[in-house]
Subunit: 455 residues, 2 copies
């Protein structure tokens, strides 16, 4: 199905190119206007460069704004498309876009370009845009749009419906009308559903829900996404600390947030940016190599450590047999603890930090004891050597407990320090755990060696 | 902010409990009704058992249905709440719920319970429900709701507005009205926005968009989610293969899908179910151990292989030093390739399979050569032994290429076989790659050993 849509889009782009190429400007405009808004964006971006420079001359500002509103406003390819136009034209398009997308694009400009663009806007509008630009990334403020509908409580249902009808084409969502007091503070919300099902003569205060759920402009976008998903909202209002309404966030932006966050966490766990699946092999290699080489250098410390125990290996080469088993299993246990810790941070923990810590500690102990016991049994029976089994099993047990604890503590500590815990990638944890596992393994083996050697 | 909401909810539940406890039934009903729908669900589920059995006797069916509509309909705790009521009451609640949630809950019943419940519904309704139950999980059909608005094209805008007003409280989304031909096939869509901004006397055919984007009931839910996210829809219609309208999927269900899929992929990469962050330490350990032990047994094959090369290690104990470096680095490369492949499958590939394969192969070659070269240099200078450096570097290069290819091919093959590629977990790939890496390492070392031994 998704592929079918892609194919249709390819055909549409080809058709539009042909029309432009053969000079059928009016038919091009009509065909473009008949597209879905998302397709307008894709089609505009998909036109060959020389035809796109014709397209922006032909198309109405409103249509261009729709196209740009439906491209990824955080993508540097989108801003590149905008920069193809002269600044005057680009600013016209930006001003017709939804404020959240406009600001996303402006944020990617150099400060010099930004100054130029803002100088081409009416002063008051430029100020408003500057305020929005100042919101930190990944906060509610950076997601919100300022095209919303708000009224005071004294109106009648019919009045508000008139207002909705007038603003229906500008507002990003028409599902809710917000109610403000005389100091512009958010005090309630009216749903379009209720407006439609109540008589025109009724005072809106009768259908206003005073328990309006809102977020603060500085709130983390993940928290906002969680509330919208829980409450099944299609939009949520954003206020400042004094409850003044600043804007609304619509569910389409929430979909993007959830997608982004998931991709970030996933990328962290794999030490590769999975959002760039379309890279050429060369770009792809260039991006993977630094991680691998950094981890390789960290891994060299493990090699150095094993080298330090060379005397031990020379005495009992059997020790080499279990190196990868212990590092591998401890690494797996560490990855499990890491993934759960990152996830717990992402969705908000319901237990206290102390309880979570104790619970994770105990889990590590149980997992370590059971797995250690399994290894003890396997090695004892395989090699008919209980002392060796004991050494490997004990080392495995301690290595798992340590890896488990590290997998839990590192992301939690990073979160406390205000860093993104997803950066503590799975491979980083496993490479680090290799080092501690080897240290534990050879230390334990050293204690036991007189017992199992020569057997 | 999310925490603030949770605290408010706790307070609300306590308040409701107190009211029930002290017999203030009417105040309880009013307070419950004043909650947000999501909070109704949470509050109902959060009441102590003995008070909940009073609550369902007091509350209107409509309010109970709202509460259940806002609980996770795929959770077995939700169905348990429903089973607390006598079947007659439970069926009344189910019938007042949105069809998608109703069906999710019914699917969790035993076939005997299901038969009882269906026998308590009007025959035609029971048939409709049975049809919905038959849609496979994770398809569009399993997500859709049958409460939508549809009209024929001959009507006027005013007529359709009347219809919207009448059905506003039943339909799950009122943003779109669908247009059907005389054989109930989907031929267009009208947005509420357009209805509001056009005169009542206009024929709806004037504002009907004939290019309606729909999905088929059998389509994969991930594909549906992608379309909704791309097009910024708040709902999307579902049809059968002959374009007959069957239902609609609303954006709140899409939010859940995106969350679920991300959690599944993430869980796969870590070999632990990260959706269960609230497990007790005991449950948590019980769930992690089977994976670890299974991987441990797979890891034993690597140990056996190293054991097989014991003679080699005895001759050159230096070989033990680089085992974890090679297995670790190859494992990391394999995990990167795996994560990208799983992600590419999830979001739909834009290149042909052959191109992707070639691109991934070439990436593996570049990554392998660069990393192998780095290792060659490090080992040569560290050990002042170029032959050893050559052996380790060459082994590293081949091991990375193989791990990279396996990380790419395994999920792709699983997807072709109709299995979920996320099950090919990161730890599984790394453990498997340990085996091939060790085999490659010792085989290469064997070729070179006469050159570097005794140096």
């Amino acid at each position: 199905m998704a592929e079918e849509q892609n194919q249709q889009l390819e055909v549409a782009i080809q058709h539009l190119s042909d029309l432009l190429h053969s000079g059928q400007d009016e038919t091009f405009k009509d065909s473009f206007e008949a597209l879905h808004e998302y397709e307008m964006g894709q089609a505009y971006a998909g036109l060959p460069d020389h035809l796109r420079s014709v397209a922006w001359r032909l198309l109405d500002i409103e249509l261009l704004a729709m196209a740009f509103d439906n491209l990824d406003s955080n993508d540097d390819e989108t801003i590149a498309l905008l920069l193809e136009m002269p600044p005057q034209k680009a600013v016209q398009v930006l001003r017709s876009m939804y404020a959240d997308n406009e600001v996303d694009l402006l944020q990617q400009l150099s400060s010099r370009q930004l100054a130029t663009y803002l100088s081409l806007m009416p002063k008051k509008e430029a100020e408003g845009v500057r305020n929005l630009i100042d919101y930190e990334e990944q906060t509610a403020g950076s997601l919100m749009s300022t095209e919303y509908m708000a009224v005071e409580e004294e109106l009648l249902v019919g009045d508000v419906m008139q207002l909705v009808k007038r603003h229906a084409n500008e507002a990003e969502s028409i599902s809710y009308v917000y109610v403000l007091d005389n100091q512009a503070r958010l005090v309630g919300v009216i749903s379009l559903r209720d407006l439609l099902t109540h008589p025109d003569k009724l005072r809106v205060s009768e259908i206003t829900n005073p328990r309006v759920i809102s977020v603060k402009a500085g709130d983390d976008q993940e928290d906002v996404a969680q509330i919208v998903a829980d409450y099944n909202f299609v939009s949520i209002p954003v206020t400042d600390d004094d409850e003044h309404l600043l804007g609304v966030i619509t569910v389409d932006d929430i979909l993007d947030v959830i997608g982004e966050e998931a991709v970030e966490d996933y990328s962290g766990l794999a030490a590769v940016n999975v959002s760039q699946v379309d890279d050429s092999f060369w770009q792809s290699a260039i991006k993977r190599i630094p991680w691998l080489v950094a981890l390789l250098i960290l891994g060299m410390s493990t090699a150095t450590l094993i080298n330090h125990f060379d005397g031990l290996v020379q005495k009992a080469s059997i020790l080499a047999v279990f190196i990868s088993l212990i590092t591998g299993t401890a690494g797996n246990a560490g990855t499990q603890a890491l993934a759960l810790a990152v996830r717990r941070i992402a969705i908000g923990n319901t237990k206290t930090p102390v309880k979570t810590f104790l619970s994770e500690m105990l889990t590590g102990v149980v997992v370590g004891v059971v797995t250690g016991l399994a290894v003890f049994l396997i090695v004892t029976f395989w090699k008919h050597n209980m002392e060796l089994g004991l050494a490997v099993g004990l080392a495995m047990m301690i290595a798992i407990m340590v890896a488990n604890l590290a997998g839990y503590l590192i992301p939690v500590a990073m979160d406390r320090l205000g860093l993104d815990p997803a950066v503590a990638s799975g491979p980083f944890i496993t490479t680090l755990s290799d080092l501690t596992s080897v240290l534990i393994y050879f230390s334990v083996a050293q204690l036991f060696i007189s017992h199992f050697i020569g057997k």
